[in-house]
């Protein structure tokens, strides 16, 4: 079997940002497994600074969609996982919660794709005003940082897998 036919490699290359969703809930067992995969991401000094808010209430999903310039798909998505970090958990968490939470987010999206779901990473941390808004909406304490939201569901659009390496972005032996 060729390396590129490896099932996990195909899942990694096949994961695309999906923004249209069927009107069909994601069952609890699947949600649990997505979170388990997110929790399996590495963290600096194994501090595990991530928290996850699993949102399935339509009212909250729509409210998250309403005030964010790039989150209209949450009007349709049956599920959102808000990935949060706890920077004051330790010195390592303070420095690296964002990297750790991003790895957890990527695991979530890869696992979703592997389980026939689609999803998209909606940035919150670097979108002006969004972190405070999401905190207010979901009652997240101020000491907790909000990385972003994975909007998830059964996809209603299909996209081609990724392939190739962009020109100029690869360096051998040194820059």
């Amino acid at each position: 079997m060729g390396i590129r036919e490896n099932e996990a490699v195909r899942a990694i290359l096949g994961r695309r940002s999906i923004r249209r969703f069927e009107d069909r809930p994601v069952d609890t067992e699947t949600v649990e497994l997505l979170i388990e995969c997110a929790c399996a991401a590495p963290s600096a000094a194994n501090v595990r600074p991530c928290h996850f808010v699993v949102v399935t209430e339509r009212r909250l999903l729509s409210a998250m969609a309403e005030g964010h310039p790039y989150a209209k798909m949450m009007f349709e998505a049956p599920l959102a996982v808000v990935v949060c970090g706890e920077p004051d958990k330790s010195d390592f968490a303070a420095r690296y919660w964002e990297e750790d939470c991003s790895a957890a987010m990527e695991n979530l999206l890869l696992a979703a794709h592997a389980l026939s779901l689609g999803g998209v990473w909606i940035g919150v941390r670097h979108a002006p005003g969004q972190e405070a808004r999401i905190r207010d909406l979901l009652g997240i304490p101020d000491r907790i940082a909000v990385l972003g939201v994975a909007a998830l569901g059964y996809g209603k659009e299909q996209k081609e897998p990724h392939s190739g390496i962009p020109d100029g972005a690869l360096h051998l032996g040194g820059w």
Binding site: L33, I35, T56, E98, E99, V120, G123, G139
Partner: protein, 177 residues
């Protein structure tokens, strides 16, 4: 009912552990290319794609990195390292979303490695001092390029159990609490 845990991709996500001891076997170029393709397949905020990768497979540079990085012992035995870097000059002023892009690409590399029978460990570089100042010159990257972290890769010489379960205290339903 599907046993989700047998889905191979899920198995590799849960099975990926930090491995720091490696066999001397080299990683074939076709695998390195696939790892890089998987790295580039990670999502990027607003699709800006600020990432670059430096592939290191020569013993002298790996040894130099092992010396320069205070937690770099894994590079003494590993046949391969991939530095995940971000060109911050293409980002809008003050936008640090490249940190997230870099971390997602790193995770893709590590999961793809596991899927191909390799193992690896994520060594942080950025924001540790003097680590960052010691490691960055070994790569010779210009100052607008941040070396975020290094994936140290190879055939593992230690085995660890897959990750299982969740910490319920870290999961919140609909609202915090």
């Amino acid at each position: 009912m599907t046993n989700f845990h047998i889905d191979p991709t899920i198995g590799f996500i849960l099975g990926r552990r930090s491995v720091r001891k490696f066999l001397p076997n080299a990683v074939i170029p076709e695998m390195v290319t696939t790892l890089l393709e998987c790295a580039f397949a990670a999502p990027s905020a607003h699709n800006r794609r600020p990432l670059h990768f430096i592939v290191v497979d020569d013993r002298a540079t790996l040894d130099a990195l092992a010396k320069a990085h205070d937690s770099g012992k894994a590079m003494e035995t590993a046949p391969l390292a991939i530095a995940v870097c971000a060109d911050t000059s293409i980002m809008p002023e003050g936008d640090m979303a490249w940190i997230e892009d870099a971390a997602a690409a790193m995770e893709n590399i590590l999961i793809a490695a596991r899927a191909l029978g390799l193992e690896g460990v994520w060594l942080k570089v950025m924001d540790r001092h003097p680590r960052e100042e010691r490691v960055t010159p070994v790569f010779g990257a210009p100052s607008h390029v941040k070396i975020v972290a290094i994936a140290v890769l190879g055939y593992g010489d230690e085995a660890k159990d897959p990750y299982r379960g969740v910490n319920e205290e870290r999961i919140h339903r609909n609202v915090w609490g």
